[in-house]
Amino acid sequence: MLVTGIKSKPVYAPLRADTGGRYHLMLASGPGAAALLRVLEELRGAAPQAAGNTRVMLAPDNAQVALPFERLAAGGVSVFDGVHALLGAFRTALDESFMGTRLYVAGPESFIGLAMKIALEFDLNKDEIRAEELGTLARRVHCVHCRHASEEVRTNIVKCAGCGQWLLVRDHYSRRLAAYMGVMADAEVPGDLPPVKEVFL
């Protein structure tokens, strides 16, 4: 069973401003805010008029984080209490957005994945989205047997909360599901499990 070295594992890069875009929509969760601040400064330097077309949506670790954004994003800064509130508003924002929008996402991979999943529903292509991974590497894991998604998985082997099977967490990633695939870890010899280790920190 191939666990690592799988092509579908997402690759991220430090955010850069895309001055080819006309409108800019920026999302961050937790430590991702620092990356947005950096790219917003860059955008303002490269295309001063873009600041008026920039909207920022934050689910920060603390409210103080939002303060420096007020000065930079004339298009508005919204602060949310948690990722799920942010993603709900994000969907509405996409529905109201126009072609020419560039999406910037920064934060833990599970947050990026959920945002990308919504963006995919709006047919945003990879040339319209950029993402920078910052924060925990804890994974969303999709059980290929019962389809339950386990959140915040930090270990190589996890017990599925849906069906109770022990799952091996692979690097095989689904953008549509925004999750890594988990497959039965002891299918060959029931009860024969590799050591459980914390690997996604």
Binding site: G20, L94, F98, M99, F122, D123, L124, N125, D127
Partner: protein
């Protein structure tokens, strides 16, 4: 594609629908069903008349749901190298023709949330077939169609009858023009824009879309380049060990074919990239007329699209 793989068809109807455009219907010579295709596909019509063979690409405008008939529209080109004049002047009901299987280089994006179609003149043809697919789909779309004057508005009654208010007409004669900024500045996310028509229209649409931040993946266009007339030159085909003369009014591909060497092709209009041929040696200048090679690829000088491109100077050697 080469001539061994063509389909035999017979022209079943011809109608002059505007002062410049004739509408042709054709059916399989054996009376059977024609190959399935998707909206935006084109065929190559092989014209064997007179001293030389013409092979021109034409978009299929008939419904992809009806495979008993293919329909094309042919605009009579003033600067014709012979192909459109052959279709207009030589072809009659009952004339047998050979065509290449349909190929789609201008497909609709399957997961788009909205389609904006922009046609200029004869560029309406691929959209007529695409509209057959769009008509029953839940995805919104609109068509913007500009022509010189009302008498040049080919297929308008068909469009009006089926599409109603989704057709927006623009007549040059009444100084009407598409407001590209208005059209492209406030489209919902997931919109794709498609343009087919004269080079000027394609350039204006793609420039306006990029100006408004549309990424290239949402901008689609098709224009078949006619092989331009140029200076005569000679080419040496290294594998065939043949020297071929390319006269001013024949394309490099036509001349090579005339010498009995087959070049694989799909569009013959500089779009698909299928006929890309390695240049082994070039003592002069490559005159690239295709829409396929990037600037970087052109700069390397080691390949050419013989369907529309030419050379100047001495010693062009191709890997054929």
């Amino acid at each position: 594609m080469n001539d061994a793989q063509t389909l035999a068809v017979v022209v079943t109807a011809i109608e002059q629908i505007t002062p410049l455009i004739k509408h042709f219907k054709m059916a399989a010579a054996d009376g059977g069903a024609l190959p399935a295709f998707s909206g935006g596909s084109h065929i190559i019509v092989v014209m064997r008349g007179g001293s030389r063979i013409h092979r021109n690409p034409y978009s299929l405008l008939s419904s992809p749901h009806h495979l008993d008939t293919y329909e094309i529209g042919v605009r009579r080109m003033e600067e014709s190298r012979g192909g459109s004049h052959f279709m207009h002047d030589q072809v009659r009901v009952g004339t047998p023709l050979e065509i290449a299987h349909p190929v789609n280089l201008f497909p609709l994006d399957k997961i788009a949330r909205k389609h904006v179609l922009i046609a200029g003149g004869i560029g309406i043809t691929p959209f007529l077939a695409q509209l057959e697919d769009l008509h029953d789909a839940a995805v919104p779309y609109e068509l913007h169609y500009s022509v010189r004057s009302p008498e040049h508005a080919a297929f308008l009654s068909r469009l009006r009858a089926r599409e109603g208010e989704r057709v927006h007409m623009y007549y040059d004669s009444e100084s009407q023009a598409v407001d590209f900024d208005g059209l492209l500045s406030a489209q919902p996310l997931g919109t794709h824009v498609y343009v087919c028509g004269p080079a000027g229209l394609i350039n204006r649409v793609t420039a306006a879309a990029r100006e408004w931040g549309w990424p290239d993946s949402h901008i689609h266009w098709e224009q078949f380049a006619a092989p331009p007339v140029g200076e005569a030159f000679e080419v040496f085909l290294a594998r065939s060990k043949l020297t071929v003369h390319v006269p001013p009014d024949q394309s490099l591909m036509e001349s090579i074919e005339g010498a009995g060497v087959e070049v694989p092709y799909l569009c013959r209009g500089g779009v698909c990239g299928f006929c890309q041929t390695r240049v082994l040696e070039s003592g002069g200048e490559l005159l690239h007329n295709d829409h396929y090679l990037s600037e970087a690829e052109r700069a390397k000088g080691n390949c050419i699209m013989p369907c529309v491109s030419r050379a100047r100077g001495s010693k062009l050697v191709l890997d054929l």
